[in-house]
Subunit: 318 residues, 3 copies
């Protein structure tokens, strides 16, 4: 049989390799020390083990004392995260040996500072588990939440990534939260600050922007956007406060959008489903879409009607 | 080079291990027999093979007769699912030997009851494939649907998980549907009941709550919520009917929300895109958002206009 | 201990195997040459490597010259894609040896045509990276976009899949875009045509239908649907233009739906968040939802108010 491929593959390969010489952003042949997305993903799995010991299994070892096994996991995180941070700190540069040495020490300090904060991160996570269990009538047990709830998974990764973000690590925090985004449909920028007892239910389609500030005991449902609002947009806004502030005990129901860096949702406010807000709301206020005009069509007869949301809609829980 | 990590890792590890002694939900060091999410995921892949034989490959064996291979897959499901069910039935307890023995027999009976229902599950799945093929003009073939459609994938996992839920298995059904949720953005609680010929298109952002009841020949598009509505919320609602009833031949277009345990959408009703409903709809009714006031701004001139949905919007198909 | 499973598994297996004889779509026991979803997924990873060399690592080899390694990756793509295309072209048929031979040659020609277009695909991808970097103030660097942004990932897979779609390959393009859909929540049908400098931000919940046409410099945010609108629906619409046309420099904000094969969004138009459109928009027009009536409830006092969107809402950026 004729084999066209073997006769033409040489030229095709040559053309593609030549295409790599155009010096665009996408033509980085000389980058040999990239942050490794696969390693970062494995680190996430280890960090989840450390957060919730006893909920996942290590198949590689026969475990008599889980403490020995977890010590080993923590050492492995230290070793591999340190390496990834060192790469990320100099990514895309071609540093000399002296600079590299300084970077290595910096990476070590960051890694240690990160590890020291794990008990604090776990303190937050314990409150998050509690918040979900109290708020979701479908939850059978706290265990089920830890095993299966995408909201808790996304928050867990976010809390770790946020500490790395605070410690000035480039690229890696975003890779971590985007891995969580990919698994859950929940997109929390590692720059956001989120207080204790944070609950996400269902979650798919949630976007929480980089400069969002969220207090304690806040509940957020699927499809909520905490986003930016601007007349100019684009790169000029780099590093500006562009996303809203959500105070303690606020609940935001599904599909609501709250936009803008000056928008403050006051303590205890309840934002109803599908509400679109670009201005601040006083504490204790319940905001909902007033009504929706619907058409009802049964055979020939067509009725137009105001569908007022019932009062209970202030509090609807999915 | 200085190695800060090796000098400090011991203390850090000690602090994290000490943090595990706080006896919170997240400090379960003594749980050594957890349901294994990875095994459950592999079981899902085997169950998909059994549902759609001939659509996936088993690489480990040279297959002459696919029936021999499928028999082996079914045995493997029996063996491993049985083990996971036994763990789930006593998860978090410390049962004595007598209780464990009773649990093992219970797990066997559940496993067998589950396996016996596979032909019935496949009968439902055959109607689901048919419904998608009839309803989606973009589908090239029924094969393409089985290979690639996330909606069918989510329904397949749901139908298996629902049977385990009916048989009283804790935790595992939810782990199964959350794995499907993670892959598809479609969140169907294993407690929902769904009739034959169920079609989901696109799917991302769909939420179907635990006590939802869905009839036959129902179509649901992306972003639809079949949710709960309540003035109190939280754990008090555990085990109450909180989600709507959708009768036969209903179509629910993208972004619609239907909420509340007393809400019944009657036979043959069509619910338009973005409609928000908290009350029942009579059979045969077509409901749509009446109109949306839009601003049109061209240079200096600004026009405000009612954008009435065209009649065809009753039926828009994505 | 009693072992119920071993005594009953034989009969259960027999019943399931008997169920495979019902000759429904889902009973394809005799298909022994299926497109292999796992191989197609590995091909996607290789194609991403070829698109962005230097951003991912090949662990299997010590790499001195990345060019040698990439040549090898390209050859591997040629070999394995060719095989998958040959299978897909005759999937479900039982061709004789002559027909099989013709199919093999056809697959080779398609594979080569595909590979020859890689530099062109990369030219488009370079513009997409640029568009995201210019448009997203949260992006630290172009590298971060390539490493972490789900929007770019989905577009990358789409651009490859679209070329295979144009070359007439069945099933495989859809499997590719559904894998991207699963990872990102972004559902782009491989049949859509999309110009240079395409930017997706956040992405989850985006649906872009099969016959959509998109110009250059178009920006699309999360939750946007570019869909079909019809009074009949179903299989009759196979192969008709059912989805909108989006001209150059259009921006479509989150949650907007644009439906219908005759709907044209003119050059430079801006479509605001949550706008629902089923008719064409003149070039340069800014369309937004005029206002939303909200209820504000503080203790006993209830205020109803028109919440007019501020002017800046024309341009809100998430």
């Amino acid at each position: 049989m004729k084999d066209y491929i073997s006769t033409e593959i040489h030229d095709i390969t040559k053309d593609i390799l030549a295409d790599y010489d155009k010096k665009r952003h996408i033509d980085k042949l000389d980058v040999f020390n990239q942050p490794d997305t696969k390693v970062i993903y494995e680190l996430i799995q280890e960090l989840v083990r450390v957060a919730y010991p006893g909920f996942t299994k290590d198949k590689s070892y026969r475990i008599y004392d889980i403490r020995n096994n977890l010590s080993m996991v923590i050492e492995d995180i230290a070793f591999r995260l340190n390496k990834q941070i060192a790469i990320a700190l100099r990514y895309g540069e071609h540093p000399d040996e002296e600079k590299l040495e300084a970077t290595r020490l910096e990476a070590q300090k960051i890694t240690l500072a990160f590890l020291r904060r794990i008990p604090e991160i776990r303190e937050y996570l314990a409150t998050d588990v509690e918040a979900v269990f109290d708020g979701d009538p479908a939850a059978e047990s706290a265990d089920e939440i830890i095993f299966a709830y995408p909201g808790l998974y996304a928050i867990t990764i976010f809390r770790y990534a946020h500490v790395l973000y605070e410690l000035g690590v480039p690229v890696i925090p975003r890779i971590m939260t985007e891995l969580a985004h990919s698994k859950t449909g929940i997109d929390i920028n590692p720059g956001a600050t989120i207080g204790k007892y944070f609950m996400i239910d269902h979650g798919t389609g949630i976007v929480i922007g980089e400069t969002t500030e969220i207090g304690e005991h806040v509940k957020v449902y699927q499809g909520v956007t905490l986003g930016a609002l601007s007349t100019s947009g684009g790169r000029k806004l780099f590093n500006k406060k562009r996303h809203p502030t959500i105070e303690d005990n606020v609940t935001i129901y599904s599909g609501a959008s709250i936009l803008g860096g000056d928008t403050v949702i006051g303590k205890g406010a309840v934002i109803g489903g599908n509400v679109f807000l670009t201005k601040s709301i006083a504490p204790g206020t319940k905001v909902s879409v007033k009504n929706q005009e619907l058409r009802y069509n049964q055979g020939k007869r067509e009725v137009q009607e105001i569908e007022a949301y019932p009062d209970s809609a202030w509090f609807y829980v999915i």
